[in-house]
Amino acid sequence: MTDHSLPDNPARRDFLYLTTGAVAAVGAGVTGWSFIDTMNPAADTLALATTEVNISSMQAGQSVVVTWQGKPVFIRRRTPDEIKAAQDVPVSELRDPQTDAQRVQAGKEEWLVVVGICTHLGCVPLGAKPNEPKGEYGGWFCPCHGSVYDTAGRIRKGPAPTNLTVPPYAFSSDTVIKIG
């Protein structure tokens, strides 16, 4: 008769417990990840769309709002005054220090392209339409929590932590901007 009170080799039994446990943990982890990842953007959502905008009819001081990846993008043709105001700000005064040159493309200082989503909590700031408030720095004003952006889309006041995002874009020609 065998003695069941102790396994022949306790170390072997421990090894089996640990490997079984490890396999179960990995299995649960992998299965769990599929549950979590299913909530991430699906392939069709990820299929990146680019947006082309014809800007030939825009006057200085005018803005348009276009849709890119479901998000609004502001394109503003800035007036010389607005460009000067943006360039003259001492960078050290800014919460998210960036020069105007870092926000626009060289030689195309007239055109400012930013994602129209406040970096605070995702509202669309006002200021793209003529009758909307532009805030005290002449750029945009977010009505939700009072963030104020300047004519380079930089945060100047209020709770937003960073400047309006500049999306990847290129000038396909002098009159067409391709965003994305």
Binding site: I36, M39, N40, P41, A42, T45, V65, T67, Q69, G70, K71, P72, S92, R95, H120, L121, G122, C123, V124, P125, L126, C142, P143, C144, H145, G146, K157, G158, P159, A160, P161
Partner: protein, 490 residues
């Protein structure tokens, strides 16, 4: 739960069931003869009222879900169809919409009751924590339900609240994309919110079960905060409190019915009746009234936590710990107290200037001279989110913030008035939350936020050791008799 010897029932069917599963014995024990303090006032109605509202919300919600379409293109119209075309759809929708408000009214009064009469204190700490968990689950459920009609307020409310998580360092952005299932609040977001809005109420039911179970283990608190000492202090739950709850419920339902039938949209913003447009944010985003105080706390943190603020906060925190949380300062800290005071003041002044006086013209020159002003460890956005969640999570640890031996606010003259102040600060915050983010509302909101946190973190711990102990009655019975003599009743 109901084990041990069992009294047989006369009814044969009842007895057949009960001898196999003693559910009737359990109901009899927990809701029939359950010994309950005899001095409850009407504040003790609100637990039962919240329960009634939970059942009402689930019943009306299940039926609404049969008519609702969780698709971004169709959701708004399906809700309008419920209101206009579905038989009694208007009634179910308004029951559900205003039911959320009535549920929160009941729960807020219930929480106030717990705070005023010290119901959170030993041995009811776990019971209290289950309550706060229920409150948090209710907030999540209500928020997701608000998204479902896919109106301007729905979509933008969802955008603002989900974006809160983007404040978390490193993983924030990825987390928000994960919550959305895309790059903005869109159809995938609506789908999952609907699934969760249907699921969470049943999780609430499970936690309510634990809450009530814990209550029936330790028994109810009462207005005197004194434990019942014998049969002269208690009454059987039925019929005394079943009747009292029914009376309270009748009054409560009159208010609820008034809202449904005469002012169904009184508590809702008109932008809730405009379809969601992801390109245009409404001029004025406000959450439902029951979230306003927390929303105001979120918006009150308009300043980054600079090096100065953190250092002053840590030094001040050590002082508060020593003089408010402890009865006497810790011996080891004593020699450093003058130094800590100096640090608090020296760092506190530039911290205050940077946080609150940046826009004052006269001070601009002084503020520009402060070195290292741009170093901040917590950005305003993250600070706001932490403050908002902290304002609720701190309530969960109230049993450990308040260590005063007396439970009821009736016998705590200082606690009582500072608690009323806490309620006033919450009401002020609620008003501020409904106003645009501009002066003077910002400053008023910041002061109310200061009192909210100051009460929890400074006043209550200090009172624990310094509030005089009033003479308590010897028993509930004695307190009730003294009341009747004073009131000229017999």
């Amino acid at each position: 739960m109901a084990h041990g010897p069992r009294e047989p029932f006369d009814n044969k069917i009842v007895e057949w069931v009960d001898s196999r599963l003693p559910i009737f014995t359990m109901i009899q024990k927990e809701y029939g003869v359950f010994p309950t303090p005899k001095n409850f006032n009407y504040f003790w109605n609100f637990g039962a009222l919240a329960m009634v509202m939970l059942v009402t919300m689930i019943a009306s919600g299940v039926i609404l879900a049969m008519h609702y379409t969780p698709n971004a293109a169709m959701a708004f119209n399906s809700v309008e169809r419920i209101t206009r075309d579905v038989n009694y759809g208007w009634l179910l929708r308004y029951l559900h919409m205003n039911g959320a408000s009535m549920f929160f009214i009941a729960v807020y009064i219930h929480i106030f009751r717990g705070m005023y009469y010290g119901s959170y204190k030993q041995p009811r700490e776990l019971l209290w924590i289950f309550g706060i968990i229920i409150f948090l689950l209710m907030m999540a459920t209500a928020f997701m339900g608000y998204t479902l009609p896919w109106s301007q307020m729905s979509g933008w409310g969802a955008t603002v609240i989900t974006s809160l998580f983007s404040a978390i360092p490193v993983v924030g952005k990825a987390l928000v994309t994960w919550l959305w299932g895309g790059f903005s609040v869109d159809n995938p977001t609506l789908n999952r919110f609907f699934a969760l809005h249907y699921l969470l109420p049943f999780i609430i039911c499970a936690v309510v079960f634990l809450h009530v179970w814990a209550l029936h283990v330790v028994g109810s608190n009462n207005p005197t905060g004194i434990d019942p000492k014998g049969p002269q202090d208690t009454l059987p739950f039925n019929p005394y409190y079943t009747i009292k709850d029914m009376f309270g419920l009748s009054i409560f339902l009159i208010v609820y019915a008034f809202l449904i039938f005469y002012a169904p949209t009184l508590l809702t913003h008109q932008d809730h009746f405009v379809p969601f447009n992801p390109m245009v944010t409404p001029a004025h985003i406000v959450p439902e009234w029951y979230f306003l105080p927390f929303y105001a706390i979120l918006r009150s943190i308009t300043f980054d936590f600079t090096l100065y603020l953190i250092v002053a906060g840590v030094a001040g925190g050590i002082l508060i710990y020593n003089f408010c949380w402890r009865k006497t300062p810790c011996e080891k800290t004593k020699p450093f107290i003058p130094a800590l005071l100096a640090v608090t003041v020296l760092f506190g002044i530039p911290a205050m200037l940077l946080a609150f006086f940046k826009d004052v013209e006269a001070l601009k020159g002084v503020i520009a001279m402060i070195p290292l002003a741009n170093i901040h460890l917590i950005e305003a956005k993250l600070g706001g989110v932490l403050a908002m969640f902290g304002s609720i999570l701190l309530l969960a640890v109230l049993p450990w913030l308040d260590r005063h031996p007396v439970r009821s606010g009736r016998y705590r003259p200082w606690y009582r008035w500072t608690l009323i102040g806490f309620v006033v600060s919450a009401v002020i915050l609620g008003y501020i939350g409904s106003q645009p983010a501009e002066q003077p509302f910002i400053t008023i909101g910041q002061l109310a936020t200061l009192y909210y946190f100051g009460w929890l973190l400074v006043i209550v711990p200090w009172l624990s050791h310094n509030e005089p102990v009033a003479k308590l009655p010897n028993s509930i019975h004695e307190a009730v008799l003294a009341d009747s003599v004073k009131g000229g009743k017999k």
